[in-house]
């Protein structure tokens, strides 16, 4: 799977890009009978950055876990290249007994990369996420934002082609979150991965994405899809653009309907 680096194509060209991740009539019922996902069909094309918003408990995390293979779906099919999958969790999930460097090396270690290469790539990623000088710190001594950066560096080390984020910045303050949004966008521009991003922040979703999906209450289904008409790179001023604000409003209304309306 090759992805050209740099800005994705404008929306009109989208259909020509090959699919990076496809859900075909995927549903999911837990053994205890909880129907988490209703029926989801969704195609994410290479180089797209798609965000999902939806009521709490609607099955967003479950959807990511199905895509990554952590959970099996009950019906339907998922098509994706799992060998180069990036996945960041809601909390940083660093190993507390390893220093930042050891944490960033972990996935490569599990994949059997040779030691020197591991070290070299890890230091590169640490520098890329702005953690120079913290390679030898234990996670305990990092702030929440720094831990998230370390977690990003860890995922980046495998150079993922599809990168999934489960509310990675949910626990951070507004300013840190916006900073990390910009850094994530520049990583996206630079590495050209395909992004699937879950968030509760509508403005974050719109700011990052080429497409925003609103999910219904549990059992989750796709309620609305919004194409975001802005190109990349994006600058923080975009957040004050009237079109941006209007889109946020529209999505917000849709999300409220999803939350309050019948299931």
């Amino acid at each position: 799977m090759t992805v050209s680096a740099g800005a994705p194509e404008p929306a009109a060209m989208e259909d020509t890009r090959p699919a990076a991740l496809t859900f075909d009539k995927v549903s999911m019922r837990f053994p205890d009978g909880t129907q988490a996902i209703g029926e989801v069909s969704l195609t994410i094309r290479q180089g797209e950055f798609v965000s999902i918003v939806g009521p709490s408990g609607c099955g967003k995390s479950t959807l990511l876990k199905i895509a990554s293979g952590l959970f099996p779906q009950t019906t339907g099919t998922v098509t994706v290249d799992r060998s180069h999958l990036g996945y960041t969790f809601q909390d940083a999930t660093l190993l507390p007994w390893r220093k930042v460097l050891g944490n960033v090396e972990l996935l490569m270690e599990l994949r059997g990369y040779p030691k020197e290469e591991r070290r070299r790539i890890a230091l590169e990623q640490i520098s890329l996420v702005g953690l120079d000088g913290f390679a030898n710190h234990y996670p305990k001594r990092l702030s929440g934002g720094m831990r998230m950066r370390a977690s990003l560096a860890r995922s980046l080390s495998l150079n993922p082609t599809v990168f999934m984020f489960d509310e990675p910045f949910g626990a951070l303050d507004e300013i840190t979150r916006e900073r990390l949004n910009d850094e994530l966008l520049s990583l996206y521009m630079r590495k050209g991965f395909t992004g699937l991003f879950i968030t509760h922040s509508i403005s974050e979703a719109v700011y990052l994405s080429s497409k925003v999906i609103v999910m219904s209450r549990r059992p989750g289904t796709i309620l609305n899809v919004y194409d975001i008409p802005f190109g990349f790179p994006r600058s923080p001023e975009l957040r004050y653009d009237p079109v941006f604000t209007e889109l946020c409003g529209e999505i917000s209304v849709s999300l409220r309907e999803a939350t309050e309306g019948g299931a």
Partner: protein, 303 residues
């Protein structure tokens, strides 16, 4: 409610007419508090050593007080410091005996631990592997723990004779319990997210066990090891009380001195045994702190 004003002066002005839903505000001004200065290594050691010594000194005072209450002909039960010194610790042959017997006892204790620690770890891993194995083993481990060891010692004597083996087994039985219990708890408390992280890379069960579960459980394992270590010396001595043939350790010395009415020597044996027990505990604690100082809360230096 609209009468509330945030200024300090006005805050209580309408208190009389207000309902009791507005509590009186008593502001206090707090001064900055400097962190205590980092202590030098010497005073750090002093902070660790002195408080227990003070408590110990109080205990000695209590001992002396109780002793002074004894009738004179019963005072041999609680020898004084000078008696202890002159009739036991000052005598080279006693010192030599204490040393060699302590070595025998510590040998039994450590061999017992060398049996119980691997078995305990193995049991924990087996129980961790599958719920059904935990269900099968756990109640039996608890049941084994509740067999009174002293009651089965005669049986052990008959079956295994009077060598080293029965004593080691007694120590192993005493010290086994704490290890699988604490380790299993630690293994099961691993962050789900960390497991998912490993599974996403297709990690095998043993990789997850060694790279995620064991490190994460190590602090609780060490808590178990500390308990086991402090029980090891005690149980080694208890085991000796029942196996008096041959040249034994401190336990044998304690019994023999009692039989010979050499109470000072008996006390010397007791004191040495206690020191042994405490040292083993301290060594395991120190090891644990060394391993976990960097990342685990329990290893952090206290401020």
């Amino acid at each position: 409610m609209s009468t509330i004003s945030p200024t300090a002066k006005g805050i209580n002005s309408g208190a009389g007419s207000m309902s009791n839903s507005t509590p009186t505000m008593n502001t206090t001004t707090y001064q900055p508090v400097p962190f205590s200065k980092p202590r030098g290594p010497l005073s750090q050691v002093a902070m660790v050593v002195i408080p227990p010594l003070v408590v110990f000194a109080l205990f000695l005072v209590l001992y002396t007080w109780v002793r002074s209450g004894l009738e004179p002909h019963r005072q041999f039960l609680m020898p004084s410091g000078s008696e202890l010194w002159h009739n036991a610790f000052a005598l080279p042959e006693i010192r030599y005996e204490l040393l060699t017997r302590a070595l025998t006892t510590i040998g039994i204790a450590l061999t017992g631990l060398a049996v119980s620690i691997p078995i305990g770890i193995l049991l924990a891993v087996i129980m961790f592997r599958a719920m059904i194995l935990e269900r099968a083993l756990f109640p039996n481990i608890v049941a084994m723990q509740s067999i009174p060891t002293l009651a089965i010692i005669p049986l052990i004597q008959t079956a295994l004779g009077f060598g080293m083996l029965p004593k080691v087994l007694i120590v192993a039985k005493f010290t086994l319990f704490a290890i699988p219990i604490t380790l299993l708890l630690g293994l099961k408390s691993v962050d789900r997210g960390i497991i998912d992280l490993f599974r996403l890379q297709g990690a095998r069960w043993h990789t997850i066990l060694f790279k995620a579960c064991f490190p994460s459980a190590a602090p609780s394992l060490f808590a178990g090891l500390r308990i086991a270590a402090s029980l090891a010396v005690i149980s080694a001595i208890v085991s000796e009380l029942f196996f008096l043939a041959g040249r034994g350790g401190l336990g044998q010395m304690i019994i023999n001195s009692k039989i010979d009415f050499k109470y000072e020597q008996m006390y010397a044996g007791l004191i040495t045994a206690t020191l042994l027990s405490v040292s083993v505990y301290i060594i395991f604690t120190w090891l644990g702190n060394r391993f976990f100082a960097g990342w685990h809360e329990s290893g952090a230096p206290q401020t």
